[in-house]
Amino acid sequence: MLTYLLRRLLLMIPTLLGITVLVFSVMAMSPGGITAQTLIGGMDMKPQEKQALLDYYNKRYGLDQPAPVQYLRWLNNVSPIGFVTDAQGQRGEFSFSKGMDLGTSFQYGRPVSDILAERIPITLLLNLVTLPLTYIIAIMVGMKAATQRGSAFDVGAGMSMLALWSIPTMLAGVLLLGFFANIQHFQWFPTAGISSLEAQDMPFLPHWEEGGFVRGFLLDRIWHLILPVICLSYGGFAALTKLTRTSILENLHADYARTARAKGLAENDVLWKHVFRNSLLPLITVSAGLLPSLLAGSLIVENIFSINGMGQLAVEAVKGRDRELVLSITWISGFLTLIGYLIADFCYTLADPRVSYD
């Protein structure tokens, strides 16, 4: 198992490199390419200042050099081992402990790592709340549909899940926002952000005060998250429900299930202890594929609900042609996806002892 894990981790390196090469070449091949000239608006700058800034960018990022050189330079800065470079872009000696430097965002003028450190937790929070919810609903509905196969519930659930699956996230987002967070209709939920300003000073848990009920930080956060999480989760559980249903149906009539019933086990025990455990495998496989789609989904959801997460950042970075930011975001989302696949493969062995990777 250890050797397998090691091999997988080593195989990740060429993939991650490939991702950055791909994105970098897209940016370099685009009309205009990445030059210091395209980065600087400079309408309100004096010519000398502009020239100074141009020189700085060219020195710092080597933007006046051919694209492959630029890429190697970027790679050298990002990789934990490589040549040490100083602020002027001069190359020093080779080092194994120079640390990673994601560079400075052109658009915000701040280190990319700082910006990402702010944004990633928000997107992760959104997705980590969504994922268990997706699974719980999918397993509940799928199980009920499978055990009552052919009933009205089964047919209805099958049809409505396909319909749910086809609703574009942006339509759901816009409708929910419009009807449940807008002054014109029901103003039940906040329209933007993931917490209100005053919530920062509140204690964590909700409680009663002299002035009345205080929401507290937790409840405020949940209140802000309800609509975005609905938007993120419905597509996932629609697909998962169908999968759960087929997978459980397959096992429900298996020989071992019949044996368990013949032994006199309660139907619930047969269902949850035997059938369910054996139906888990396809659910786990899909969980790996769910992660990238969740990341992509949060791109739209964050845009609609004005949440300052990584998805929002990705749109801003791409619109602003912010090379360092774009590269870092693709790199990190690719990394997260690969880790997701790895975890899924690992869970596979936990759920089914017959699976081993040696």
Binding site: S30, V318, R321, G334, T337
Partner: protein, 393 residues
């Protein structure tokens, strides 16, 4: 004893029969047919000029004078497709004939159709077009880019809110009729869906086929390539491509195609891995056929069935991609698009429900239709799967 029934029905005919048996798929095909109808006849369904009018005894059809090159080409291609379909020829020949015909049509249209360079929509509301003996207007008497400024439209008005002229689905931010724009947007949606998935399919088949046929080192390298495209969230890759390459419609088709092939490659690879050791493939190799012939003439037709399923889901995905890009403000600039219209639903803190419900609804219906068709295909192709799903075939 029951007699064995010998069926002379071909594989494709059986799949079609089984696919069409469902209720959902009929609805799906019906919706797609409606979209095709709207896309082909858009200038006659929603336009500002009369279809036919008689002035001083002279009968004229202004709509035909203003038909753009694109309009004429789409119309010609549609009728060529119909004619080719009526001919009894083999599938491949039909496709070739259609492509040839539509290329000729493109040439002819470019030579002969000369629409006026500038269309002033105000003219159609002047006396030259209103004081006539009789005229037949299109069902929706507004062109998609007729911003009705001369009628004092302020834009973003709810259905039936405007006095003097009826907008069934309201107006958008520049004051153009939403229904008219939606009809013309069918074109973008359909063409993106078909051409983008066509490109993705072509790349996927070539890469996946080579991977599956050669396996070994080619497979290894190909898998890395597939992984690279799979591990970046597609939408993000798409955003990067569009932001750096500009936003023309054709560019978008290519980009959505180029980013979306990895799924097809996986499918084809899997099928080809199964097929490559079969006797007929070995026989083809032994008789020294060229590689393209082995791959595409002998192996592909036997591995194409599961691809059909992937394609119909893929078309839905491509349509969704275009809508999402337009929604995020990275779509085609002036052409009407459902996604771009949906974006106007929550502009300036008011909620314009008609901008969400109608364009969003048609995106949903289109995606739903293709998903239904894909589902029906899958059940028809793999009866074992449909048994598992509890649907009797």
């Amino acid at each position: 004893m029951t007699k064995p029934v010998i069926s002379r029905e071909s594989f494709s005919a059986r799949i079609w029969r089984k696919t069409l048996a469902g209720v959902g798929v009929k609805f799906g095909l019906g919706w797609v047919a409606l979209l095709v109808f709207c896309a082909v006849f858009a200038p006659f369904l929603a336009n500002s000029m009369p279809l036919l009018m008689s002035k001083d005894g002279v009968i004229s059809a202004p709509v035909l004078e203003y038909l753009s090159v694109e309009d004429a080409w789409i119309l010609a291609s549609f009728f060529i497709a119909l004619a080719v379909y009526r001919l009894s020829l083999a599938g491949g020949k039909q496709i070739l004939l259609f492509l040839l015909g539509s290329a000729l049509a493109a040439l002819a249209v470019n030579m002969f159709v000369k629409p006026p360079a500038l269309v002033i929509y105000d003219d159609f509301r002047s006396s030259a077009y209103t004081q006539v003996d009789w005229k037949i207007m299109p069902p929706i008497p507004y062109a998609p880019v007729d911003y009705l400024r001369d009628l004092g439209s302020k834009g973003l008005e709810a259905p039936f809110a405007t006095e003097g002229h009826t907008h069934w689905m309201g107006t958008e931010e520049n004051g153009a009729d939403v229904l008219s724009r939606m009809i013309h947007a069918c074109r973008i949606s359909l063409s993106i869906g078909l051409i983008a998935s066509g490109i993705a399919l072509a790349i996927g088949i070539v890469v996946g086929g080579l991977m599956g046929y050669f396996s070994g080192i080619v497979d290894m390298l190909g898998m890395r390539l597939v992984e690279i495209f799979e591990d970046i969230p597609t939408l993000f890759l798409l955003l990067t491509f569009v932001a750096f390459f500009g936003r023309s419609l054709y560019m978008m088709m290519v980009i959505i195609g180029v980013t979306g092939w990895s799924g097809y490659a996986r499918y084809v690879r899997q099928e080809f891995l199964k097929l490559r050791k079969q006797d007929y493939v070995q026989a083809a190799v032994a008789s020294g056929l060229p590689l393209t012939s082995i791959l595409f003439r002998h192996m592909l037709p036997n591995g194409v069935a599961p691809l059909l399923v992937a394609v119909s889901f893929g078309v839905a995905g491509a349509i969704l991609s275009e809508a999402t890009l337009s929604f995020l403000g990275l779509g085609v600039v002036d052409a009407p698009s459902w996604g771009a219209m949906l974006d106007q639903a929550v502009k300036s803190s008011t909620f314009n429900w008609w901008m969400a419900v109608f364009p969003g609804g048609s995106i949903f219906m289109t995606v739903f239709a293709y998903n239904l068709i894909g589902e029906a295909f899958r059940d028809a192709i793999d009866p074992r799967l449909s048994d598992k799903a509890g649907v009797k075939s």
